[in-house]
Protein backbone atom coordinates (compact mmCIF):
# COMPACT_ATOMS: atom_id res chain seq x y z
CA UNK A 1 0.00 0.00 0.00
CA UNK A 2 1.20 3.51 -0.73
CA UNK A 3 -0.58 6.70 0.23
CA UNK A 4 0.90 9.55 -1.76
CA UNK A 5 0.51 12.80 0.17
CA UNK A 6 3.36 14.80 -1.32
CA UNK A 7 1.65 16.43 -4.30
CA UNK A 8 3.30 19.77 -3.59
CA UNK A 9 6.62 18.06 -4.40
CA UNK A 10 5.30 16.55 -7.59
CA UNK A 11 2.15 14.91 -8.93
CA UNK A 12 1.41 11.69 -10.74
CA UNK A 13 1.07 12.39 -14.46
CA UNK A 14 -2.47 12.03 -15.70
CA UNK A 15 -3.30 9.54 -18.44
CA UNK A 16 -4.57 12.47 -20.52
CA UNK A 17 -1.18 14.18 -20.27
CA UNK A 18 0.75 11.01 -21.08
CA UNK A 19 -1.46 10.28 -24.10
CA UNK A 20 -1.09 13.85 -25.30
CA UNK A 21 2.69 13.48 -25.30
CA UNK A 22 3.11 10.12 -27.03
CA UNK A 23 2.39 11.08 -30.66
CA UNK A 24 5.03 13.82 -30.44
CA UNK A 25 7.76 11.31 -29.72
CA UNK A 26 7.51 8.99 -32.70
CA UNK A 27 4.89 10.36 -35.09
CA UNK A 28 4.97 14.14 -35.06
CA UNK A 29 8.60 14.29 -33.97
CA UNK A 30 9.79 17.09 -36.24
CA UNK A 31 11.64 20.16 -35.02
CA UNK A 32 9.18 23.08 -34.96
CA UNK A 33 11.89 25.29 -36.45
CA UNK A 34 12.21 23.08 -39.55
CA UNK A 35 10.66 24.27 -42.76
CA UNK A 36 9.47 20.86 -43.95
CA UNK A 37 6.03 19.48 -43.25
CA UNK A 38 7.19 17.23 -40.40
CA UNK A 39 8.54 20.29 -38.65
CA UNK A 40 5.55 22.42 -39.45
CA UNK A 41 3.15 19.88 -38.00
CA UNK A 42 5.10 20.11 -34.73
CA UNK A 43 5.04 23.91 -34.98
CA UNK A 44 1.24 23.83 -35.33
CA UNK A 45 0.92 21.61 -32.28
CA UNK A 46 3.15 24.00 -30.36
CA UNK A 47 0.95 26.93 -31.37
CA UNK A 48 -2.15 25.05 -30.20
CA UNK A 49 -0.56 24.26 -26.86
CA UNK A 50 0.45 27.90 -26.40
CA UNK A 51 -3.11 28.98 -27.17
CA UNK A 52 -4.51 26.46 -24.66
CA UNK A 53 -2.26 27.78 -21.88
CA UNK A 54 -3.05 31.39 -22.82
CA UNK A 55 -6.82 30.79 -22.87
CA UNK A 56 -6.73 29.26 -19.40
CA UNK A 57 -4.64 32.07 -17.91
CA UNK A 58 -6.64 34.78 -19.71
CA UNK A 59 -3.87 36.24 -21.86
CA UNK A 60 -2.70 36.21 -25.48
CA UNK A 61 -0.70 33.30 -26.88
CA UNK A 62 2.21 35.65 -27.68
CA UNK A 63 2.47 36.42 -23.97
CA UNK A 64 3.34 32.79 -23.09
CA UNK A 65 6.96 31.60 -23.13
CA UNK A 66 7.78 27.94 -22.57
CA UNK A 67 10.65 27.25 -20.17
CA UNK A 68 12.16 24.26 -18.38
CA UNK A 69 9.98 24.83 -15.34
CA UNK A 70 9.17 27.03 -12.37
CA UNK A 71 12.73 27.81 -11.37
CA UNK A 72 13.74 28.98 -14.82
CA UNK A 73 10.56 31.05 -15.15
CA UNK A 74 11.21 32.71 -11.80
CA UNK A 75 14.84 33.42 -12.68
CA UNK A 76 14.01 34.88 -16.06
CA UNK A 77 11.12 37.00 -14.82
CA UNK A 78 13.12 38.53 -11.99
CA UNK A 79 16.34 39.06 -13.95
CA UNK A 80 14.38 40.65 -16.82
CA UNK A 81 12.54 43.10 -14.58
CA UNK A 82 15.81 43.90 -12.79
CA UNK A 83 17.59 44.62 -16.04
CA UNK A 84 14.75 46.80 -17.30
CA UNK A 85 14.70 48.60 -13.93
CA UNK A 86 18.44 49.18 -13.87
CA UNK A 87 18.22 50.97 -17.22
CA UNK A 88 15.92 53.50 -15.55
CA UNK A 89 18.08 53.59 -12.42
CA UNK A 90 15.53 51.59 -10.46
CA UNK A 91 17.34 49.08 -8.28
CA UNK A 92 14.82 48.23 -5.58
CA UNK A 93 12.85 44.96 -5.50
CA UNK A 94 10.11 43.94 -3.08
CA UNK A 95 9.39 40.31 -2.26
CA UNK A 96 8.45 38.23 0.79
CA UNK A 97 10.31 36.22 3.40
CA UNK A 98 8.49 33.00 2.40
CA UNK A 99 9.31 32.79 -1.33
CA UNK A 100 10.71 29.67 -2.96
CA UNK A 101 14.51 29.57 -3.23
CA UNK A 102 14.21 30.03 -7.00
CA UNK A 103 13.09 33.57 -6.15
CA UNK A 104 15.11 34.21 -2.98
CA UNK A 105 18.42 33.02 -4.43
CA UNK A 106 17.90 35.07 -7.59
CA UNK A 107 17.25 38.10 -5.38
CA UNK A 108 20.43 37.34 -3.39
CA UNK A 109 22.35 37.40 -6.65
CA UNK A 110 20.87 40.77 -7.56
CA UNK A 111 21.61 42.12 -4.10
CA UNK A 112 25.30 41.36 -4.69
CA UNK A 113 25.03 43.34 -7.92
CA UNK A 114 23.81 46.42 -6.06
CA UNK A 115 20.06 45.92 -5.91
CA UNK A 116 18.25 46.64 -2.69
CA UNK A 117 15.77 43.98 -1.61
CA UNK A 118 12.84 44.50 0.76
CA UNK A 119 11.20 41.33 2.06
CA UNK A 120 7.64 41.77 3.29
CA UNK A 121 6.70 40.10 6.56
CA UNK A 122 4.43 37.07 6.11
CA UNK A 123 3.15 37.35 9.70
CA UNK A 124 2.06 34.43 11.85
CA UNK A 125 -0.63 33.33 9.36
CA UNK A 126 1.79 33.25 6.41
CA UNK A 127 0.04 36.02 4.46
CA UNK A 128 1.47 39.39 3.44
CA UNK A 129 -0.55 42.57 3.98
CA UNK A 130 -1.33 44.79 1.00
CA UNK A 131 -0.93 48.00 3.06
CA UNK A 132 2.60 46.91 3.94
CA UNK A 133 3.36 46.44 0.25
CA UNK A 134 2.01 49.91 -0.50
CA UNK A 135 4.27 51.40 2.20
CA UNK A 136 7.30 49.53 0.88
CA UNK A 137 6.99 50.77 -2.72
CA UNK A 138 9.50 53.53 -3.58
CA UNK A 139 10.10 55.64 -6.67
CA UNK A 140 13.02 53.34 -7.52
CA UNK A 141 11.09 50.07 -7.10
CA UNK A 142 11.62 48.00 -10.26
CA UNK A 143 9.67 44.86 -9.34
CA UNK A 144 7.36 43.29 -6.81
CA UNK A 145 7.49 39.48 -6.75
CA UNK A 146 5.10 37.65 -4.41
CA UNK A 147 4.24 33.97 -4.70
CA UNK A 148 0.60 33.09 -5.39
CA UNK A 149 0.54 30.18 -2.94
CA UNK A 150 3.27 28.97 -0.65
CA UNK A 151 4.85 25.60 -1.39
CA UNK A 152 5.28 24.62 2.27
CA UNK A 153 2.41 26.04 4.27
CA UNK A 154 0.00 26.47 1.35
CA UNK A 155 -1.08 30.02 2.18
CA UNK A 156 -2.69 31.92 -0.68
CA UNK A 157 -1.68 35.57 -1.00
CA UNK A 158 -4.08 38.44 -1.82
CA UNK A 159 -2.66 38.58 -5.34
CA UNK A 160 -5.40 40.66 -6.97
CA UNK A 161 -4.98 43.38 -4.35
CA UNK A 162 -1.18 43.27 -4.49
CA UNK A 163 -1.37 43.51 -8.28
CA UNK A 164 -3.73 46.47 -8.09
CA UNK A 165 -1.32 48.35 -5.83
CA UNK A 166 1.61 47.62 -8.15
CA UNK A 167 -0.37 48.80 -11.16
CA UNK A 168 -1.32 52.04 -9.42
CA UNK A 169 2.35 52.71 -8.75
CA UNK A 170 3.52 51.58 -12.18
CA UNK A 171 5.62 48.73 -10.77
CA UNK A 172 5.97 45.34 -12.51
CA UNK A 173 4.22 42.58 -10.54
CA UNK A 174 5.46 38.99 -10.87
CA UNK A 175 3.93 36.02 -9.11
CA UNK A 176 5.44 32.57 -8.68
CA UNK A 177 2.23 30.59 -9.16
CA UNK A 178 3.88 27.17 -9.34
CA UNK A 179 1.79 25.76 -6.47
CA UNK A 180 -1.43 27.51 -7.50
CA UNK A 181 -1.84 26.90 -11.23
CA UNK A 182 -4.11 23.93 -11.85
CA UNK A 183 -5.49 24.13 -8.30
CA UNK A 184 -6.92 27.64 -8.13
CA UNK A 185 -8.60 29.53 -10.97
CA UNK A 186 -6.26 32.33 -12.02
CA UNK A 187 -6.91 35.05 -14.59
CA UNK A 188 -3.86 37.22 -15.11
CA UNK A 189 -5.85 40.15 -16.54
CA UNK A 190 -8.46 40.23 -13.75
CA UNK A 191 -5.79 39.83 -11.09
CA UNK A 192 -3.44 42.56 -12.34
CA UNK A 193 -0.55 40.14 -12.88
CA UNK A 194 2.29 41.25 -15.18
CA UNK A 195 4.37 38.08 -15.03
CA UNK A 196 3.51 34.59 -13.80
CA UNK A 197 5.58 31.41 -13.43
CA UNK A 198 4.11 27.93 -13.67
CA UNK A 199 5.40 24.38 -13.68
CA UNK A 200 3.69 21.40 -15.35
CA UNK A 201 4.58 18.64 -12.89
CA UNK A 202 2.59 20.30 -10.11
CA UNK A 203 -0.70 19.66 -11.92
CA UNK A 204 -0.35 16.24 -13.50
CA UNK A 205 1.99 17.21 -16.33
CA UNK A 206 5.56 16.11 -17.02
CA UNK A 207 8.66 17.30 -15.14
CA UNK A 208 11.14 19.69 -16.74
CA UNK A 209 8.61 21.92 -18.47
CA UNK A 210 6.96 25.15 -17.45
CA UNK A 211 5.88 28.50 -18.73
CA UNK A 212 6.27 32.18 -18.07
CA UNK A 213 3.48 34.61 -18.81
CA UNK A 214 4.79 38.07 -19.64
CA UNK A 215 2.37 40.91 -20.25
CA UNK A 216 2.86 42.60 -23.57
CA UNK A 217 5.10 45.65 -23.25
CA UNK A 218 7.45 44.14 -20.68
CA UNK A 219 10.88 43.40 -22.10
CA UNK A 220 12.12 39.91 -21.43
CA UNK A 221 15.87 39.22 -21.21
CA UNK A 222 16.98 35.83 -22.46
CA UNK A 223 19.04 33.84 -19.99
CA UNK A 224 19.75 31.00 -22.43
CA UNK A 225 21.35 32.20 -25.65
CA UNK A 226 21.17 30.38 -28.96
CA UNK A 227 18.47 29.98 -31.57
CA UNK A 228 15.43 32.15 -32.07
CA UNK A 229 12.91 29.91 -30.33
CA UNK A 230 10.27 31.51 -28.09
CA UNK A 231 10.44 34.75 -30.03
CA UNK A 232 14.17 35.00 -29.35
CA UNK A 233 13.74 34.99 -25.60
CA UNK A 234 14.48 31.36 -24.78
CA UNK A 235 16.85 29.43 -27.02
CA UNK A 236 16.83 25.66 -27.41
CA UNK A 237 14.66 23.29 -29.42
CA UNK A 238 11.24 23.21 -27.82
CA UNK A 239 10.41 20.11 -25.78
CA UNK A 240 7.30 19.48 -27.87
CA UNK A 241 6.11 16.27 -26.15
CA UNK A 242 6.42 17.87 -22.72
CA UNK A 243 4.69 21.05 -23.87
CA UNK A 244 1.80 18.98 -25.26
CA UNK A 245 1.60 17.09 -21.97
CA UNK A 246 1.62 20.33 -19.99
CA UNK A 247 -1.16 21.91 -22.06
CA UNK A 248 -3.31 18.78 -21.79
CA UNK A 249 -2.74 18.50 -18.03
CA UNK A 250 -3.50 22.18 -17.51
CA UNK A 251 -6.75 21.98 -19.45
CA UNK A 252 -7.79 18.83 -17.59
CA UNK A 253 -6.98 20.25 -14.16
CA UNK A 254 -8.80 23.51 -14.95
CA UNK A 255 -11.87 21.69 -16.18
CA UNK A 256 -12.08 19.79 -12.90
CA UNK A 257 -10.99 22.44 -10.38
CA UNK A 258 -14.46 22.78 -8.83
CA UNK A 259 -14.94 19.04 -8.61
CA UNK A 260 -11.43 18.52 -7.18
CA UNK A 261 -11.91 21.29 -4.59
CA UNK A 262 -15.25 19.96 -3.43
CA UNK A 263 -13.54 16.65 -2.71
CA UNK A 264 -10.21 18.00 -1.46
CA UNK A 265 -11.31 20.68 0.97
CA UNK A 266 -13.38 18.37 3.23
CA UNK A 267 -10.52 15.82 3.22
CA UNK A 268 -7.99 18.52 4.06
CA UNK A 269 -10.17 19.87 6.86
CA UNK A 270 -10.75 16.42 8.33
CA UNK A 271 -7.00 15.76 8.22
CA UNK A 272 -6.26 19.06 9.98
CA UNK A 273 -8.92 18.39 12.60
CA UNK A 274 -7.66 14.85 13.22
CA UNK A 275 -3.98 15.79 13.44
CA UNK A 276 -4.55 18.78 15.71
CA UNK A 277 -6.02 16.42 18.30
CA UNK A 278 -2.41 15.40 18.95
CA UNK A 279 -1.35 17.42 22.03
CA UNK A 280 1.08 20.29 21.48
CA UNK A 281 0.66 20.43 17.72
CA UNK A 282 -0.07 23.53 15.65
CA UNK A 283 -1.21 24.25 12.10
CA UNK A 284 1.21 26.29 10.01
CA UNK A 285 -0.35 28.89 7.75
CA UNK A 286 -3.79 30.45 7.74
CA UNK A 287 -6.62 28.04 8.50
CA UNK A 288 -8.77 29.15 5.54
CA UNK A 289 -6.65 31.05 3.00
CA UNK A 290 -4.70 27.95 1.99
CA UNK A 291 -4.42 25.57 -0.95
CA UNK A 292 -7.24 23.02 -1.07
CA UNK A 293 -4.86 20.09 -0.50
CA UNK A 294 -2.28 21.54 1.89
CA UNK A 295 -1.82 20.52 5.53
CA UNK A 296 1.29 21.62 7.42
CA UNK A 297 1.70 20.99 11.14
CA UNK A 298 4.47 21.31 13.74
CA UNK A 299 4.75 18.83 16.60
CA UNK A 300 6.69 19.77 19.68
CA UNK A 301 9.48 17.49 20.91
CA UNK A 302 10.19 15.51 17.75
CA UNK A 303 12.22 15.90 14.59
CA UNK A 304 10.67 15.75 11.13
CA UNK A 305 13.01 13.41 9.29
CA UNK A 306 12.52 10.55 11.74
CA UNK A 307 8.77 11.17 11.49
CA UNK A 308 8.93 10.91 7.68
CA UNK A 309 10.96 7.68 7.78
CA UNK A 310 8.48 5.93 10.06
CA UNK A 311 5.51 7.21 8.07
CA UNK A 312 7.21 5.95 4.91
CA UNK A 313 7.54 2.50 6.51
CA UNK A 314 3.77 2.66 7.05
CA UNK A 315 3.24 3.52 3.39
CA UNK A 316 2.71 7.28 3.80
CA UNK A 317 4.73 9.60 1.53
CA UNK A 318 4.99 13.05 3.13
CA UNK A 319 7.47 15.90 3.51
CA UNK A 320 9.02 18.02 6.27
CA UNK A 321 10.68 21.39 6.70
CA UNK A 322 13.20 19.81 9.03
CA UNK A 323 16.86 20.68 8.41
CA UNK A 324 17.75 17.00 8.20
CA UNK A 325 15.60 16.47 5.14
CA UNK A 326 17.21 19.32 3.25
CA UNK A 327 20.85 18.47 3.89
CA UNK A 328 21.40 21.83 5.58
CA UNK A 329 21.45 22.55 9.28
CA UNK A 330 18.68 25.12 9.16
CA UNK A 331 15.03 24.23 9.27
CA UNK A 332 12.59 25.72 6.76
CA UNK A 333 12.98 29.48 6.20
CA UNK A 334 9.19 29.64 5.78
CA UNK A 335 8.47 28.19 9.23
CA UNK A 336 11.08 30.50 10.79
CA UNK A 337 9.53 33.46 8.93
CA UNK A 338 6.10 32.81 10.43
CA UNK A 339 7.66 32.80 13.87
CA UNK A 340 8.16 29.13 14.69
CA UNK A 341 11.27 28.68 16.86
CA UNK A 342 14.05 26.49 15.41
CA UNK A 343 13.32 23.50 17.65
CA UNK A 344 9.63 23.57 16.70
CA UNK A 345 10.34 24.11 12.98
CA UNK A 346 12.43 20.91 12.99
CA UNK A 347 9.29 18.98 13.91
CA UNK A 348 7.16 19.88 10.91
CA UNK A 349 5.10 17.67 8.63
CA UNK A 350 3.61 18.64 5.27
CA UNK A 351 0.87 16.55 3.68
CA UNK A 352 -0.26 17.70 0.25
CA UNK A 353 -3.29 15.86 -1.05
CA UNK A 354 -4.66 15.24 -4.51
CA UNK A 355 -8.22 14.42 -5.52
CA UNK A 356 -7.07 10.79 -5.81
CA UNK A 357 -6.64 10.45 -2.05
CA UNK A 358 -9.57 8.85 -0.25
CA UNK A 359 -11.36 9.35 3.03
CA UNK A 360 -10.02 5.97 4.19
CA UNK A 361 -6.50 7.17 3.51
CA UNK A 362 -7.15 10.32 5.54
CA UNK A 363 -8.29 8.25 8.54
CA UNK A 364 -5.29 5.90 8.15
CA UNK A 365 -2.94 8.90 8.10
CA UNK A 366 -4.51 10.51 11.18
CA UNK A 367 -4.18 7.28 13.15
CA UNK A 368 -0.62 6.54 12.08
CA UNK A 369 0.66 10.08 12.47
CA UNK A 370 -0.70 10.19 16.03
CA UNK A 371 0.96 6.85 16.83
CA UNK A 372 4.29 7.89 15.30
CA UNK A 373 4.41 11.28 17.04
CA UNK A 374 3.69 9.61 20.36
CA UNK A 375 6.31 6.90 19.72
CA UNK A 376 9.04 9.42 18.82
CA UNK A 377 8.12 11.58 21.80
CA UNK A 378 8.52 8.54 24.06
CA UNK A 379 12.24 8.48 23.20
CA UNK A 380 12.79 12.25 23.00
CA UNK A 381 14.73 13.98 25.78
CA UNK A 382 13.21 17.28 24.62
CA UNK A 383 9.70 15.93 25.14
CA UNK A 384 10.65 14.55 28.58
CA UNK A 385 11.95 17.99 29.62
CA UNK A 386 8.69 19.58 28.44
CA UNK A 387 6.47 17.03 30.13
CA UNK A 388 8.41 17.10 33.40
CA UNK A 389 8.31 20.88 33.50
CA UNK A 390 12.02 21.59 32.99
CA UNK A 391 11.13 23.47 29.82
CA UNK A 392 8.02 25.41 28.90
CA UNK A 393 5.82 24.30 26.03
CA UNK A 394 5.99 26.67 23.09
CA UNK A 395 2.91 25.12 21.48
CA UNK A 396 -0.05 24.75 23.79
Amino acid sequence: MMIYADNAATTKMTKTAINAMLPYMDITYGNPSSLHSAGQRAAEALADARQTVADILGCAAREIYFTSGGSESDNQAILSAAEAGAKKNKRHIISTSIEHHAVLHTLNKLEKQGFEITLLDAHENGIVRPDELEKAIRPDTALVTVMYANNEIGTVQPVRELGRICREHGVIFHTDAVQAVGHIKINVADENIDMLSLSAHKFGGPKGIGALYVKRGITLTSIIEGGAQERGKRAGTENVPAIMGMAAALKESYDMIDEACSKLIPMRDRLIEGILKIPHSILNGDRYERLPGNVNVCFEGIEGESLLLILDSKGICASSGSACTSGSLDPSHVLLAIGRPHEVAHGSLRLSLSHENTEEEIEYMIENIAWTVSYLRSMSPVWRDLEEGRKEHVIQ
Binding site: I302, E303, S322, A323, C324, D330, E343, H346, M379
Partner: protein, 145 residues
Protein backbone atom coordinates in the same frame (compact mmCIF):
# COMPACT_ATOMS: atom_id res chain seq x y z
CA UNK B 1 17.81 4.43 -0.22
CA UNK B 2 19.22 7.25 1.89
CA UNK B 3 20.39 4.95 4.68
CA UNK B 4 22.05 1.53 4.92
CA UNK B 5 20.00 -1.46 6.08
CA UNK B 6 21.87 -1.37 9.37
CA UNK B 7 20.91 2.27 10.01
CA UNK B 8 17.28 1.51 9.17
CA UNK B 9 17.32 -1.54 11.47
CA UNK B 10 18.67 0.50 14.40
CA UNK B 11 16.30 3.37 13.61
CA UNK B 12 13.17 1.24 13.28
CA UNK B 13 14.11 -1.09 16.16
CA UNK B 14 16.34 0.98 18.43
CA UNK B 15 18.15 -0.91 21.20
CA UNK B 16 18.38 0.37 24.78
CA UNK B 17 15.77 3.13 24.52
CA UNK B 18 14.75 4.55 27.85
CA UNK B 19 15.81 6.26 31.03
CA UNK B 20 17.70 4.96 34.09
CA UNK B 21 16.28 6.80 37.10
CA UNK B 22 19.20 5.98 39.40
CA UNK B 23 21.88 6.32 36.71
CA UNK B 24 25.50 6.65 37.85
CA UNK B 25 26.34 8.90 34.92
CA UNK B 26 24.20 10.94 32.53
CA UNK B 27 25.46 12.75 29.43
CA UNK B 28 23.46 15.10 27.23
CA UNK B 29 24.89 16.63 24.05
CA UNK B 30 23.52 18.53 21.07
CA UNK B 31 21.12 21.37 20.77
CA UNK B 32 17.40 21.44 19.98
CA UNK B 33 18.00 24.47 17.78
CA UNK B 34 20.22 22.34 15.55
CA UNK B 35 17.72 19.52 15.49
CA UNK B 36 19.41 16.85 17.59
CA UNK B 37 19.89 16.07 21.27
CA UNK B 38 21.22 12.81 22.68
CA UNK B 39 21.01 11.80 26.29
CA UNK B 40 22.78 8.68 27.55
CA UNK B 41 22.28 7.08 30.99
CA UNK B 42 24.89 4.70 32.44
CA UNK B 43 24.74 2.21 35.28
CA UNK B 44 28.30 1.47 36.37
CA UNK B 45 29.56 -1.28 38.64
CA UNK B 46 33.27 -1.76 39.29
CA UNK B 47 34.18 0.32 36.24
CA UNK B 48 31.96 -1.86 34.06
CA UNK B 49 28.93 -0.44 32.21
CA UNK B 50 26.28 -2.83 33.45
CA UNK B 51 23.37 -1.01 31.84
CA UNK B 52 22.88 1.82 29.35
CA UNK B 53 19.81 3.61 28.03
CA UNK B 54 19.32 6.53 25.68
CA UNK B 55 16.80 9.19 24.69
CA UNK B 56 17.28 11.03 21.40
CA UNK B 57 15.55 13.90 19.65
CA UNK B 58 16.74 13.90 16.08
CA UNK B 59 16.75 12.40 12.64
CA UNK B 60 16.91 8.73 11.70
CA UNK B 61 20.70 8.59 11.77
CA UNK B 62 20.82 10.29 15.19
CA UNK B 63 18.51 7.65 16.66
CA UNK B 64 20.40 4.83 14.91
CA UNK B 65 23.79 6.22 16.08
CA UNK B 66 22.54 6.37 19.69
CA UNK B 67 21.24 2.83 19.48
CA UNK B 68 24.47 1.49 17.98
CA UNK B 69 26.70 3.37 20.44
CA UNK B 70 24.79 2.02 23.45
CA UNK B 71 25.10 -1.52 22.07
CA UNK B 72 28.84 -1.06 21.56
CA UNK B 73 29.52 0.00 25.15
CA UNK B 74 27.08 -2.18 27.09
CA UNK B 75 28.95 -4.61 29.38
CA UNK B 76 32.29 -2.97 28.58
CA UNK B 77 34.78 -1.41 31.00
CA UNK B 78 34.80 2.40 31.07
CA UNK B 79 38.30 2.48 29.59
CA UNK B 80 36.96 0.72 26.52
CA UNK B 81 33.83 2.88 26.26
CA UNK B 82 36.05 5.95 26.25
CA UNK B 83 37.84 4.59 23.19
CA UNK B 84 34.60 4.52 21.19
CA UNK B 85 35.05 6.79 18.17
CA UNK B 86 32.49 8.36 15.90
CA UNK B 87 34.20 6.52 13.05
CA UNK B 88 33.62 3.17 14.76
CA UNK B 89 29.92 4.01 15.26
CA UNK B 90 29.52 5.05 11.61
CA UNK B 91 31.35 1.93 10.41
CA UNK B 92 29.23 -0.35 12.59
CA UNK B 93 26.20 1.25 10.95
CA UNK B 94 27.68 0.37 7.54
CA UNK B 95 28.24 4.04 6.80
CA UNK B 96 26.28 7.28 7.10
CA UNK B 97 25.65 9.89 4.40
CA UNK B 98 28.33 12.63 4.57
CA UNK B 99 25.98 15.27 5.94
CA UNK B 100 24.86 12.87 8.70
CA UNK B 101 28.31 12.04 10.07
CA UNK B 102 27.85 14.56 12.88
CA UNK B 103 25.21 12.18 14.31
CA UNK B 104 27.95 9.62 15.02
CA UNK B 105 30.07 12.41 16.52
CA UNK B 106 27.19 13.24 18.86
CA UNK B 107 26.98 9.57 19.90
CA UNK B 108 30.68 9.49 20.81
CA UNK B 109 30.35 12.75 22.72
CA UNK B 110 27.22 11.61 24.57
CA UNK B 111 29.02 8.48 25.83
CA UNK B 112 32.02 10.56 26.95
CA UNK B 113 29.79 13.14 28.61
CA UNK B 114 28.05 10.39 30.61
CA UNK B 115 31.36 8.87 31.74
CA UNK B 116 32.65 12.34 32.67
CA UNK B 117 29.50 12.92 34.72
CA UNK B 118 30.17 9.66 36.58
CA UNK B 119 33.80 10.68 37.26
CA UNK B 120 32.73 14.14 38.43
CA UNK B 121 30.03 12.79 40.75
CA UNK B 122 32.43 10.33 42.32
CA UNK B 123 35.49 12.58 42.54
CA UNK B 124 37.49 10.34 40.23
CA UNK B 125 40.51 11.96 38.59
CA UNK B 126 40.66 11.96 34.79
CA UNK B 127 42.47 13.53 31.89
CA UNK B 128 40.30 16.47 30.78
CA UNK B 129 41.82 16.52 27.32
CA UNK B 130 40.13 13.19 26.62
CA UNK B 131 36.71 14.76 26.91
CA UNK B 132 35.40 17.07 24.23
CA UNK B 133 33.52 20.11 25.40
CA UNK B 134 30.22 20.38 23.56
CA UNK B 135 30.21 24.17 23.97
CA UNK B 136 33.31 24.52 21.83
CA UNK B 137 32.35 21.97 19.17
CA UNK B 138 32.26 23.57 15.75
CA UNK B 139 29.02 21.87 14.73
CA UNK B 140 26.66 24.37 16.32
CA UNK B 141 28.89 27.42 16.07
CA UNK B 142 28.62 30.56 14.03
CA UNK B 143 24.87 30.49 13.64
CA UNK B 144 25.15 27.78 11.03
CA UNK B 145 22.37 25.85 12.70
Amino acid sequence: MLYSEKVMDHFMHPRNVGVIDDADGVGEVGNAKCGDIMKIYLKIDNDIITDVKFNTFGCGSAIASSSMATEMIKGKPLSEALKLTNKAVAEALEGLPAHKLHCSVLAEEAVKAAVKDYYDKNGIEYDRSEFPDCATCAHCEGGSC
